[in-house]
Amino acid sequence: MTPLSQLLPGQFGKLASLNPERGVDQRLMALGLLPGMVLKLIRRAPLGDPLAIEFGGQVVSLRLAEAENLIVDVSADCPIQRPRQP
């Protein structure tokens, strides 16, 4: 279980839980970012923030501060590419 903000570019994860009371945007949920959704971190912006993630056939950008509230399961049964070693 890791916050989405710590995923590496190219890494997949399955959204385990979100913490809407801690201010996860209702818009992210409206876009379909709900528990069980498989997502992929595509890249970070050149300055490190925000992030671009892909889920449900769309690419969405969100800030690190919001990504910290999203807990993803990287070991779940979703396709995982080998993370690049930092």
């Binding site: 009371e21 209702q26 818009r27 876009l31 379909g32 528990p35 300055l47 925000p50 056939g57 969405v60």
Partner: protein, 717 residues
């Protein structure tokens, strides 16, 4: 807002970028009206749509949104418009949901929420061409059946394909009034919803619909409760226990609504879309280049510099032609009216000059609108926001502030209009507030004049460029802290998460881009044009009257041998000196004394409040070289270089010392001297409060900074 023909009303609703506006244009043609929703800055665009059988309905194009959970003013308007809660507006008789065919699940979430309102619905699967290209096959009949028999049609709005089907589908929805199938709420949530609606109705004495009950239960935002007048004290306990009930049934109350809808839609969409062979989108590959860690910013800079650099370059020629035309017109009109000097001056200097000064900027404005349109339609605008967000987030703005601020270096007006794309109301307001600080091209003439007359000759071309660049940064230097203070201390609103869809790249369609450019420009000319026209006439009158013939005679008598041209310029200067504007300038000169301005500069400053670029021609008049003065004109430069203080403690010293020159430029960099900008700011922020605040703040800041520069530099030199 009601229309003369109080017939049927149909609303277009959908996610952003699905093609609502394109479809709207295709359905209504050129018969469109643009108004405003009362109290908010959201435009109400409506038109007449023929349903194909001679029946006509009024169609409104509502702002794009992802969810009915109201977060921004735009979203609130859609909810209010759909529920018939807007004063003077009817509740729509049918709702057309415009859907992106390539992402049905996410788009139908909004549709499913709208279904809760119980209005007849038409589902339009737009961008069918892209779906086809990607090999997606959509069974519209199956989808229609699953949604309870509402019409489902496919269209490619920008190719004009499927438009007739849309017309027919609207006709059938209006005739049959078929509602869309609603979600089945789990028992406990349904019970909680009933509790909330019942309690709200009992407390407020108003009827509360099911859809309103959902907004009350699911939204953190209290706008629905506020509108019903359901106070916090009244609702707190009810909502708390209702949300506990939802939680006990295994749903997080804040996520229950999307969870239930999405689960429902997954079942609805089962087997509706089949993926065949097709080309995957190329957006990912393009992004690998354009959002690359090192190449991305380089390409970004290149694109922005290329685009905005060419605004100046492309606009230069039409601007020269317009200037030429205006001068030529003056040259034709003025001699005809030699016998009526007042009418001559009103027409030539007031009306033609004033309107000309305004028209000269039109090419830049048009090209800016064009470029902003290209950036938006291609999908690069969202990438620009993605790249730049980090640089703006710390001062409360966001990545979407970048393009408005950059365009502000050409002209504030299109930039203010382009702040509409910023969803976060706080960031939008703060961006609009600091846009006028950007050094727009109307400031260029005064910088050019001062640099060419003083900085260049005294310190060389190197320093001239340094000062030129420096002046373009002064506004930026003050804008950033202003935004910071505004968003942190003044607008104490909860920070709005910056969630942004990166849409697929697409080739912009020239017709669409040009049409939007035209609409924006027409709006600008009709709104700002009237304001500046009125102000121009007022300033003209103030500097023309009173006009006693004895003034001219005295000048002529005291300069018997001077050439006619020289006498004419002197007479003009004398008239301005004793006009209301001149007297006022002399009276308030002490206010500008700390900046080192004499009364002539003061008059120039005062006359420039409606439009700052008139400073050069006003200085031309007050320094007696005639009003044909140009920034590169020899005469005005010479007259200013020779100008000395005639009295007071500075008597004998040059008026245009380095200190005064720099103070004057800094003053112009910061001062709020543009009527159309103020008018546009008022329009975009929904009232005169922010516009007045901007005027007072910028003008005070300009005075303070000008004073600081003058007082420091005069002591150092």
């Amino acid at each position: 807002m009601s229309t003369p023909d109080a017939g049927l009303l149909v609303a277009l609703v959908g996610n952003p970028n699905t093609g609502k506006s394109t479809l709207f244009n295709a359905l209504t043609g050129l018969r469109q009206r643009v108004g405003n929703y009362p109290g908010v800055t959201v435009a109400r665009k409506s038109g007449t749509c023929d349903l194909g059988d001679g029946q006509k309905v009024e169609l409104v194009d509502l702002p794009g949104l992802y969810s009915l959970a109201a977060a921004s003013p735009d979203e609130q308007v859609v909810i209010d418009a759909l529920s018939g809660n807007i004063a003077g507006d009817r509740r729509p008789d049918a709702v057309v949901l415009v859907v992106d065919s390539t992402n049905l699940l996410r788009n139908l979430f909004l549709a499913s929420q709208v279904a809760e309102l119980g209005r007849p619905v038409v589902i339009v699967l737009n961008q069918a061409d892209v779906a086809k290209e990607q090999g997606l096959r959509i069974d519209t009949e199956l989808l229609s059946r699953r949604l309870g028999g509402v019409p489902v049609v496919m269209s490619s709005a920008w190719k004009g394909e499927g438009i007739l089907d849309v017309r027919r589908a609207i006709a059938s929805a209006v005739a049959n009034q078929t509602p869309m199938k609603r979600v089945a709420w789990p028992t406990n949530i349904a019970a909680a919803l009933t509790d909330v609606a019942t309690a709200a109705a009992a407390d407020t004495g108003k009827p509360v619909t099911e859809a309103e009950g959902q907004r009350l239960l699911f939204d953190t935002n209290p706008s629905t409760a506020d509108r019903l007048g359901w106070t916090l004290a009244q609702r707190d306990k009810t909502l708390r226990s209702a949300r506990d009930r939802v939680r006990n049934s295994g749903y997080n109350p804040m996520a229950a609504e999307p969870l239930v809808h999405y689960a429902h839609l997954r079942i609805v969409l089962e087997g509706v879309v089949t993926e065949g062979a097709g080309k995957a989108g190329r957006s990912a590959a393009v992004d690998r280049l354009l959002l690359h860690r090192f190449l991305g910013p380089v390409l970004f800079l290149g694109i922005m510099l290329g685009f905005f650099g060419s605004v100046f370059w492309l606009a230069k020629f039409p601007m020269e032609w317009i200037q030429f035309g205006v001068d030529a017109l003056k040259g034709v009109v003025a001699p005809q009216l030699e016998a009526y000097p007042m009418l001559q001056s009103l027409l030539a200097d007031g009306i033609i000059g004033g309107v000309g000064a305004f028209l000269v900027f039109l090419p830049q404005i048009l090209i800016l609108f064009l470029f902003i349109g290209i950036l938006e339609d291609s999908g690069y605008m969202a990438r620009a926001a993605f790249i730049m967000d980090r640089l703006f987030s710390w001062c409360g703005l966001n990545g979407k502030s970048f393009v408005p601020l950059l365009s502000g270096f050409a002209c504030a007006i299109p930039s203010l209009l382009s702040t509409r794309t910023i969803e976060d109301p706080k960031a939008r307001l703060a961006t609009a507030f600091v846009v006028p600080f950007m050094s727009c091209s109307a400031r260029f003439p005064i910088y050019a004049l001062m640099c060419a007359a003083f900085i260049g000759p005294l310190y060389g071309p190197g320093w001239q460029s340094v000062v030129m660049i420096g002046m373009h940064c002064v506004g930026l230097f003050f804008a950033v802290p202003t935004a910071f203070v505004l968003t942190r201390l003044v607008l104490k609103v909860k920070p709005h998460p910056f969630v942004l869809e990166l849409p697929r790249y697409q080739m912009p369609k020239p017709r669409d881009v040009l049409w939007r450019m035209w609409q924006n420009a027409a709006e600008f000319v009709s709104k700002a044009g009237t304001v500046i026209f009125a102000i121009t006439i007022i300033v003209w009158a103030l500097s023309y009257f009173p006009r006693d013939a004895s003034v001219a005679e005295r000048i002529k008598a005291s300069n018997p041998t001077a050439a006619e041209e020289v006498v004419k310029a002197k007479v003009q200067a004398a008239y301005v000196e004793q006009s209301y504007m001149g007297r006022f300038g002399k009276a308030v000169q002490p206010i500008f004394d700390p900046l080192g301005f004499d009364w002539k500069i003061t008059v120039g400053v005062l006359a420039s409040f409606p439009a700052r670029e008139v400073i050069v021609s006003t200085l031309g008049v007050t320094y007696s070289v005639g009003e044909g003065a140009k920034a590169d004109g020899q005469h005005l430069r010479k007259a200013m270089q020779d100008a000395k203080w005639s009295e007071g403690p500075r008597a004998g010293a040059p008026i245009f010392s380095l200190a005064a020159v720099l103070a004057l430029m800094v003053f112009f960099a910061l001062c709020s001297q543009c009527g159309p900008t103020i008018a546009t700011l008022a329009q975009e922020t929904g009232g005169w409060k922010w516009a007045a605040g901007s005027f007072v703040y910028m003008t005070a800041l300009a005075w303070l900074a000008g004073t600081a520069v003058y007082q420091v530099v005069i002591r150092l030199t």
